[in-house]
Symmetry: C2
Amino acid sequence: MYGKRNPDETRRHLLEAAYEEIHRVGFQAASLGRILERTGVTKGALYHHFPNKKALGYAVVDEVIRAQLHAGWVVPLRSADDPVDGIIRVLSERAAEMGDHLVQLGCPLNNLAQEMAPVDEGFRRRIEALFHLWRGGIAEALRRGQREGRVREDRVAEDCALYIVSSIEGCVGAAKSAQDRRVLIACSGGLLDYLEGLRRGEGHG
Amino acid sequence: MYGKRNPDETRRHLLEAAYEEIHRVGFQAASLGRILERTGVTKGALYHHFPNKKALGYAVVDEVIRAQLHAGWVVPLRSADDPVDGIIRVLSERAAEMGDHLVQLGCPLNNLAQEMAPVDEGFRRRIEALFHLWRGGIAEALRRGQREGRVREDRVAEDCALYIVSSIEGCVGAAKSAQDRRVLIACSGGLLDYLEGLRRGEGHG
DNA sequence: TAACATTCATACTGGTCGGTATGTATGGAA
DNA sequence: TTCCATACATACCGACCAGTATGAATGTTA
């Protein structure tokens, strides 16, 4: 397009469009034709940058979703004073940032996980790497909180992180299934209960 | 097949095969050809019993999945003495019954919800009706527990049921994403924490 | 047994898809 | 200026898919 040539830009455009297409309809139902249509890129260009559809999907996970997760969760949690406060704040920030997309289409990472994990091991491993990153960021914050006396020490940080991430995906999934933002709010109440229960001095441990 | 004729049976076979196919690859990727192949039913028979693919999918939700949910969750919870004990017992029973299928392929209802809710309103409503049934069974048990003094009364039963179901789906989803049964166990630990916290006399309310 | 609706069976259609073959324009290096 | 890899563009292919047209059995009813 434009008669101009710019390989890096076209690759970026393809990745962004593929990300949105996959987020909208899933990987298997994603149409290369629609991606090309929306980007103005031609099939020749696409197959120059990616050997096949699967490689494009892999790149979306490895680059686009990974960058979002890193910037949206890992980095912010590093600079949080209190881990529980930090998780709650990041949670609401991410929910606000994604807006209606989160309720309508769900979490891009979890969508892919649920669709592709049983079907393609390459996807599964890449997706699991991102979940590992995510849980790692939360667990690190929780461990720091334990050292600083903010988080109860009778819990294993990694186990808590696993449950927190799963619970987030559960809540987002419920809201998506209902196509109703209020479900996200109501469901998050239970998660907040759990998070508050992780603070130090909450008894019954 | 068999030269014999039996409309009810062929319909049942079709529904069962469709259920399995959808559970395996999702509705959109489900192939009528594969369903016919595995049942031995022909295309003419299929389109005699169902007007189109979508109607077959709807019937799977309305009949197959609904029956499973009713028999597996609603009925058992009605005869539970303690709701928290009951939920925990049903949880493990269901997990045991589905075996590796649960970890490999995930929850049939939630799979469909995540795939189809944003795409087709007919699916969404039917799926949401089943979630309503499920949450209703749990909420009813919790309310009875509150009346009988077994469950703390500073919680709204419906909100708790929403979070419990979402949390279950989150845990199952995590295990499916990891394709690892141990993830299901570890993740359920957090849910058990939450459930135990619903019992009466647990402080910090 | 004759008429008729139900229950299937077979062959075919149009459309979409991922992928490929082939060609062309660009830009940098020698 | 020549050469050549890079970066595209266009046309086409075979596979699969949901859905349809048509007809043949089968069971039911009169």
